[in-house]
Symmetry: C2
Subunit: 492 residues, 2 copies
Amino acid sequence: MAEADLRVQGFMDRHYRPVTATIVTRLRAIVGEGHVYDDPAALLDYAHDEVAGDEYVHMPEVVVKPATAAEISQIMRLANRERIPVTPRGAGSGLSCGAVPVYGGIVLSLERMNRILEIDRENMVAVVEPGVVTNDINEAVSEYGLFYAGYPMSVELCFIGGNVAENAGGGRAIKYGVTGRYVLGLEVVLPTGEIVQLGGKRVKDVTGYDLLHLMVGSEGTLGIFTRIILRLLPLPKARAVLLIPFADVPTAIRAVPMIMTQGRIIPTSIEFMDRLSVQTAYDYIGERLPHPDIGAMLLIEVDGYSESQVEAEYNAIVDLCLEAGALDVYVGNTPAAERRIWRPRQEMAEAFKAVCPVQSLEDIVVPLAQIPDLMPELERLSQKYDVLIPCYGHAGDGNLHATIVKQPGTSMEEWREKLPVILEDLYHVVARLGGTISGEHGIGSKRARYLPLVMDPTLITLQRRIKQVFDPLNILNPGKIFPEMPGGEEGR
Amino acid sequence: MAEADLRVQGFMDRHYRPVTATIVTRLRAIVGEGHVYDDPAALLDYAHDEVAGDEYVHMPEVVVKPATAAEISQIMRLANRERIPVTPRGAGSGLSCGAVPVYGGIVLSLERMNRILEIDRENMVAVVEPGVVTNDINEAVSEYGLFYAGYPMSVELCFIGGNVAENAGGGRAIKYGVTGRYVLGLEVVLPTGEIVQLGGKRVKDVTGYDLLHLMVGSEGTLGIFTRIILRLLPLPKARAVLLIPFADVPTAIRAVPMIMTQGRIIPTSIEFMDRLSVQTAYDYIGERLPHPDIGAMLLIEVDGYSESQVEAEYNAIVDLCLEAGALDVYVGNTPAAERRIWRPRQEMAEAFKAVCPVQSLEDIVVPLAQIPDLMPELERLSQKYDVLIPCYGHAGDGNLHATIVKQPGTSMEEWREKLPVILEDLYHVVARLGGTISGEHGIGSKRARYLPLVMDPTLITLQRRIKQVFDPLNILNPGKIFPEMPGGEEGR
């Protein structure tokens, strides 16, 4: 741990108090005997999210599972009185350590608050608790001809509350936008315990500052969501997926704006995979590559309200891609064919974990047209630091999951020393190209120390002060987003 | 003026200092001789926006017209040192007194910053200065097959900077959302003079709190925008407009969710006009009503990327509306016919001003399905207080411009006494129906005193404190959004 980090740790350890047996008793009185856990085996499950690496594991002192906003309010008031940090947690499927209790204390799991409270067809909204699995919302509303358009890749696992906290993106953002676009209202327990209502079942609202969307993406640092009002859309009636191999990255990427500006089509998804990603994913699922000369691949989905419209759109995309130099085009317009085409993309993260679990899954974003400038830089980093850097992600958004993967021959000690150097180098490149360090995974504690590389100190100070407005004692999810000040002067 | 208002005025008059000849000289040194105005005739143009009524007029002490962010930064530093309020101003087409200098001081007009700086076709963004007329953006980008989807009704007059400050909505929000959806980046001069960059040419960004969208809709109280990066979309290739008379309001409103849930179509616009609005608008433009038995009317626009898709959509809407009880349907699918159908809606505000200029144009929003519950309440208010309340607006969003219009026989004294009572009554109704007091016009100084009727005091306090984080001396656009505290304890 660096010296500054040690100073911060020391300050925070003095700032917070331990969870005593008395506190545990009080927590039991609030949420009920059976919903407080403090045995080490149970705590371990709540000590990490999906970020790989022992250095990202932090044990909570106690886990509580409240069932209502009123219980959460009491927990927050207790935590403020006793100066105990509280880390809210959804499904634990995050990729930035947002739900990891870096200073110990209480992990507040929302898993019991998992009800779909209302499906209001007339107003086209769903009202849900934060612990509902995102995909379950779609299963519930599809029978009414409606759908929820948020679509993180972990949709069958993640909780909607976590999606809102991280402003999750995913594979359909190019057409449908990210989670925040669909959040019309939130019930929030503030860090100091007040329960407030933001927004409602209304699609327009300029009554005061947009606190609702300040909450969205605040990574559990400004409030705990206890009820979420989501806008629904009419369910598309038709869909098709295209798998399009190209000989190289620049040719593939050049096709993307052509589809939108020349074709005047906004596809539902435009996913990108470089050669290494394609090879690794197809090896992992045990299938042959769709074309022997693949240097890059696009996976494009279109949807719409008639078969004929979708067919017209995908035919236009096929023509444009072939004109742009595609090696071939495969069309999937049956559910089975669609699943088959999507499978390598969906298994991608697992595929790389199987190759080497020691890696850093990145979430950089650059302007779409700058992707071709990014690729040689990834190649340079890969050579310079002797790592693999496969790159895949949401090409339509410029949001790429470049993944720094340790070579088998590199020792863990060497890896731990060089990873921060590689990340600094990468983040400088991204900033120079007009991008930033996270498009959808969040900063959490994983990237907090790198924030100053891409953000003006004035903006970091403003954010610390906003945090302080909501959470004067820094009780709710400390250690996330911005680096703690060594002396704790700010944000206290 | 109420006693509390007088106390606030007194406090603020002591808090701020007058604009002296020395200050005017310094302003001239910053922006150049010819760009500072202090003669009363010139000042009068900057003393009001489009809200009618002498009580909303407040004279600035001086008007400055800077040309760069650096000049604005110097002005803000000077204003902080000298404690002079600064009110930023776009085209002055606002409807909530957001650009009116309620405590005098400096009006900072952005009218000279009117350049389209860049049209980046590959990234599908435009970079513009705040003083560009919104419609001019579309004129500039259409040749590239692109369009900017923000569409306030004053699109040919208003400035894009004002649209961002108010998070302007308008007639296409049901399909395309409001201004904020298209704001990817902002250069902002903070109230204390720092120049910061938020966002960029990227469609996804979760790096820290969403300060970008906290700025959007902050009504010129948190910063002055000097450069705006806007997302563009592919320009639709086809469009059609439907004019659909109904016998009564409930029948018309019931058709709206049917179109979206049964028809699975999101139209570009669903505009609503009640009988009184229809009659007044057609009288004003000198045309006959489209049907003798009109009790309400919908104006529905669809657009898309092929003639056949648009035709399929409007045919489906026609069938659904006739099934729902429409009296007739008129289709406009040539530019001339479209203009003719839109004209009464576009002339609506002017039509009512011609009938009686003494009125309060409201901007309430309720959940779509609650519009039929709102209508009898408007009728009740109209009877109880002896006023006309025509109602028109964006039915697809539940955002209705109910307009309280003085009867010719009512004296101005009586009107001034009863208007606040009517508004309180109306706003209580709106809150009870799950709505709020502004969907797109903003709170400004016109509605600030009513904010506590629809918003939890905890949320108002949080907003005051956020304002204080950005603007410790309350220099930038004071008196807007939240009521000033009589003693000025908060927000100082």
